[in-house]
Each structure stands twice: as C-alpha cells, then as structure tokens.
C-alpha cells in the first residue's frame, strides 16, 4: 500500500462544524436496458469554510456527483445532509457555477448578477447596492451594461461566480469552471477565487481534472477513481500559501498526486 501523502494540514482546525454530510451515495443510470453504476459508496463530509477539490479523470462521475449535491439529480441510494437536513430540490443554499456558459443571454452583466436577488422581495436600492458590491468584487464594474455575448469567456465565469455569491449560499459547487480558459486567464481566475474565499469565507467544492489547479486552490483533495466512481483518497495539502507553480515543494506534490491519479 502506498504511504499517505501528508499529515493533517495546519490550516484546518478540525473544530469547525460539519456542514455537508454524504453517506453511501450511489447513482445508477439505466442505459438501453442495462444498468451503469456511475457512482458507488461515496462517503465524505465537508466542514464550514473548507475549500475542497474533487479530482478525477474524465467520465468518473464528477459532474453527476455535483448534480446530485445541487439537487438536479436524485441519488439511487444513500443520503445527502446539509446541516443535518436531507437535500431534495435545487435551492439557493447550494449554488453551482457550471462549466458551460449558463448566463441569460437577454440580460446584461448587472441584470444577470441581480437575477437571484430579484426573486427575494428586496427593495430596488438594496439590490442595486449589493450588485455594485459584487461587480466590484469580480472586477466587472466597467462592463455592467454589456451583454454576455459581448464579453470574454473569463468574464462570463466571473459573472457566473458573482450571480451565485450574491445569494450567500451555504455551500458553493464549481464544476470545472475554468477548464475552457487559457492558462493566464485561468491563473487569474484562481487568484480571484482565492481572494474571494478569503474575504467571504465560503464553503466550496471545486471539481477539476487538473492536478495543479487542485493543489493551488484547496487544502483537501478528494481523488476519484473510475468505473464505478469512488473516492479513493482524501488528501490534505499542507503547502504554504500563496502556492506558486514554480516552487519545488509544489512540483514534488504535484508529481506525487499525478501518480495517484494515474494508477
């Protein structure tokens, strides 16, 4: 058996309260009359304020897992508890940043960000103030009146981030949100996410297939295996922040993790 990568990281106090608990989660799809077990025996829990990365190769069921956590899909068996209560429908307490562009094309940047708040009966002034704040947080104040088709992919993901952060979800799911961006923009977005995480201290589950991204962002990485998708390892990352790709310890960690992922 392979030795564990690291000991418990010092940034994780272990005293925080558990916010999300997943027990024996299983998802079976029936495809053309036969059954395909996509996820099996998924067990983990998330503490308030944690940023967790789920790392796995394409097709291992990461998106399926996220969709169940968000309430878009019902599990075949097992349970998902948010603050002790089972999750069934989608709700504003669990928000998703999708991999694809899912902004409303007929709304401007600021209208997209305000969309969720409009549903809660809040006064116009209050909404306006919140939107201004989040526009500034993601650095899009200048582009508030633009339509999604008039801004770049990176900016779209900023809008997607802002429109859910503004709702103050208990937990935020991100499904490979930066996968389609170029390397520099991706790094920019990672830094933005980290700074927002520090400022707003959200609980985040971040799905990725990029080893370096996982190490840059999170203190805890869940490595998934394929066919059926299982959580194979729960790794704590105790590298000092900010984590720079060039640092020797980063490279060492990344190589180790990559080996874990491959076999």
């Amino acid at each position: 058996m392979r030795p564990k990568l690291t000991a418990i990281s010092k940034t994780d106090p272990g005293t925080r309260k558990t916010i999300l608990e997943i027990n024996k989660l299983r998802k079976v799809f029936s495809v053309n009359g036969s059954f395909l077990t996509v996820l099996d025996c998924i067990d983990f829990s998330v503490k308030s304020g944690e940023m967790i990365c789920i790392l796995g190769r394409s097709g291992c069921g990461k998106s399926t897992l996220l969709k169940m956590l968000a309430g878009f899909l019902t599990p075949s068996s097992g349970e998902i508890l948010l603050n002790g209560k089972p999750v069934s429908d989608p709700g504003t307490d669990r928000c998703v940043v999708f991999q694809e562009d899912t902004l409303f094309p007929w709304l401007t940047v600021q209208e997209n960000i305000a969309f969720g708040l409009r549903g809660r009966n809040k006064d116009k002034k209050g909404i306006r103030k919140e939107v201004d704040r989040f526009l500034a947080l993601v650095g899009l104040t200048e582009f508030r009146d633009y339509l999604p088709r008039e801004i770049s992919g990176g900016m779209k993901q900023r809008v997607a981030l802002a429109r859910v952060l503004i709702l103050k979800p208990q937990i935020l799911f991100m499904d490979e949100p930066f996968a389609s961006l170029d390397a520099q923009t991706r790094e920019e977005m990672q830094n933005l996410l980290l700074s927002l995480w520090e400022k707003l201290s959200h609980t985040i589950i971040f799905v990725t297939h990029d080893v370096n991204e996982a190490i840059t962002l999170s203190d805890r990485i869940l490595v998934m295996s394929k066919n059926p998708g299982r959580i194979r390892e729960d790794i704590h990352v105790n590298l000092a922040r900010p984590r720079k790709l060039e640092k020797e310890e980063f490279i060492f960690f990344s190589r180790k993790l990559y080996e874990h992922l491959c076999d």
């Binding site: 968000a70 309430g71 878009f72 429908d89 989608p90 709700g91 504003t92 669990r94 928000c95 998703v96 999708f98 694809e100 899912t102 409303f104 094309p105 007929w106 709304l107 401007t108 969309f115 969720g116 409009r118 549903g119 809660r120 200048e142 582009f143 009146d145 633009y146 339509l147 008039e150 429109r163 859910v164 709702l167």
Partner: protein, 287 residues
C-alpha cells in the same frame, strides 16, 4: 508616445454602451437604405414602359397615372363625389379591426398553448396530432362552414384570420420553448426561481426569437385570410373594395386595393417588430 495613445491606454475604448434606441437598428443598415426600393422601382418602370408602348392594353392593366389618380381619389376624395371616393378610412379601419381581433385571438391561444406543449410532453402528445391534422386543411375550406356558423361579416372574417394565424404562432412558440437550454432552467432553479417567475423570466425570453418569427408569420397570414373573409360580401373593408371593383369593372381600384394591402401588411410587420422590441428586452437583445 503621443498624448492620444497615452489617453487610450488609461481609458481603453470599450464598445459603446447599450442605449435603448441604438439597439433597435442594426449597424451598417444606413448605407443600404435605398436597396429595398430597387425592386419596386424596377417594377414600376416596367409597368410605365408597358403602358406607354401599349404592350398591355388598359382594360387589363391601367396606366400607373390612372391608378395613382384613382388611389388619390380613394384616399383623399370626398365621399359621394364618385364611386369609391373617400372610402379608404372606413375600409382600412374596418380591416384593421378584423385583422387585429383575429390576430389577437390567435396570440391569446397560440402563445400559451405553444409554450405548454413545448415544455410538457403530455400537452405535446395531446395536441400534436390534432394540430398537425388541422394544419393540413387549407384555410379556404373553412369558409363555407364559417359562413354557415357566423354568417357574412366580422365574425367569419375574424374566425378565418384567427384560425390561420394560430398555427405558425403555436408551432413557433412550441419550438422556442422546446429548444431552451435546460441548463438555463437549472440555473434558474438553483437561484430560487419557482414556476411562475420561471415562465416569465426564463421561458418567455428564452423562446423570444422563435416566438417573434411565429408572430410575424402569423400576422402575414392574417392579412391573407382577412381578404379572403372580406371577399364574401361584407359592405366594407379592403377585400370588399377589391370585390366591388371587380363587379364594376374598375381594374384601377383593384390595383389600388392590392397596393394598399401590400403597404399595410409591410407596415404592420414593421410595427409588430418595433413594438416587440420596445416591450421586451429579450426581443431587443437576442433577435
């Protein structure tokens, strides 16, 4: 580095902000303003040439000047001066009311039913076969039945117009609702959107480009069936004028009627597009 370049770096030039009016037109349109008139102009020249040279006898197609005079009289003449003089206002308003009512009825049924059948497979299964079967029936076959049911006049015309305009409106609304990206609906659900708000905030705007196509097609067909309904012997309306003129052998008035219908149809389409863009963000921004 020049001052201007320096300025540009400090204040980069962003594309212009979204103004309500700017978004209505499309850029590059101004240079081509005359192009749409080319075909009518050619047509008119050919007509003048044919009349001047006597290629087409006047009892088949009167000289453009004569038609122009008849049209002037029809529109601006004093009622009673001559047959057809000054009838325009009454005819046009009667026709507009019939088209408007029929089209309105088609919209009231077509849009909600279309959206429902685009989203709910139960409704699609329920309606699909019937709608497609009825759609295959040419509108004119309803005319005898409509005459029996509603008699001559407003009701028959409105019935025909509504029936004909319903199908393109319904079918396009259904197509629009069906093709909405399901991720947009999921995103809405995650941001706390419930049924009612989802319909108005996501479903309608998301299907707007298709719906607009359906409405425009519907309005075009509405004009066609208006004239059909009015040919049956109602006392006023643009179709009635054409019918009366045929009885009296006034070819010039027939041509005047056709031209007026063409112009009003075109203006109606434009008015529809403009008012949709005025009323709905999604119509301004996505179609």
């Amino acid at each position: 580095m020049t001052k201007r370049e320096n300025n540009l770096i400090r204040n980069p030039v962003f594309p212009p902000r979204r103004g309500t009016f700017r978004a209505w037109g499309r850029s590059g349109q101004t240079k081509l303003t005359l192009l749409p008139w080319l075909i009518p102009a050619l047509f008119l020249s050919a007509w003048i040439a044919a009349s001047e040279t006597g290629l087409i006898p006047t009892y088949l197609l009167p000289h453009p000047l004569e038609v122009g005079r008849a049209g002037y009289n029809y529109i601006f003449g004093k009622v009673g001066d001559a047959s057809f003089a000054g009838r325009f206002l009454g005819d046009a308003s009667a026709s507009l009311i019939r088209v408007g009512t029929g089209f309105g009825v088609a919209v009231i049924f077509g849009i909600p039913l279309g959206i429902l059948s685009g989203r709910l497979s139960v409704v699609q299964r329920l309606m699909g076969t019937t709608v497609n079967a009825l759609r295959a029936v040419p509108g004119i076959s309803w005319l005898p039945l409509a005459l029996v049911w509603f008699g001559i006049g407003m009701k028959t015309t409105v019935f025909l117009v509504a029936l004909a305009a319903f199908f393109p409106i319904y079918l396009n609304a259904a197509a629009g609702a069906r093709q909405i990206n399901p991720l947009l609906l999921q995103a809405g659900a995650m941001m706390g959107v419930k049924r009612l708000r989802g319909t108005f905030a996501i479903l309608l705007p998301g299907s707007m480009p298709h719906m607009m196509t359906g409405l425009r097609l519907g309005l075009g067909i509405a004009w066609a069936y208006l004239v059909l309904g009015e040919l049956t012997g109602v006392p006023n309306g643009l179709g009635a004028v054409i019918m009366d003129a045929r009885m009296l052998g006034r070819i010039d008035i027939i041509v005047v009627g056709i031209i007026i219908i063409a112009i009003m149809g075109r203006l109606g389409d434009q008015l529809l597009t403009i008012s949709l863009r005025f009323c709905f963000k999604s119509a301004r921004r996505t179609s």
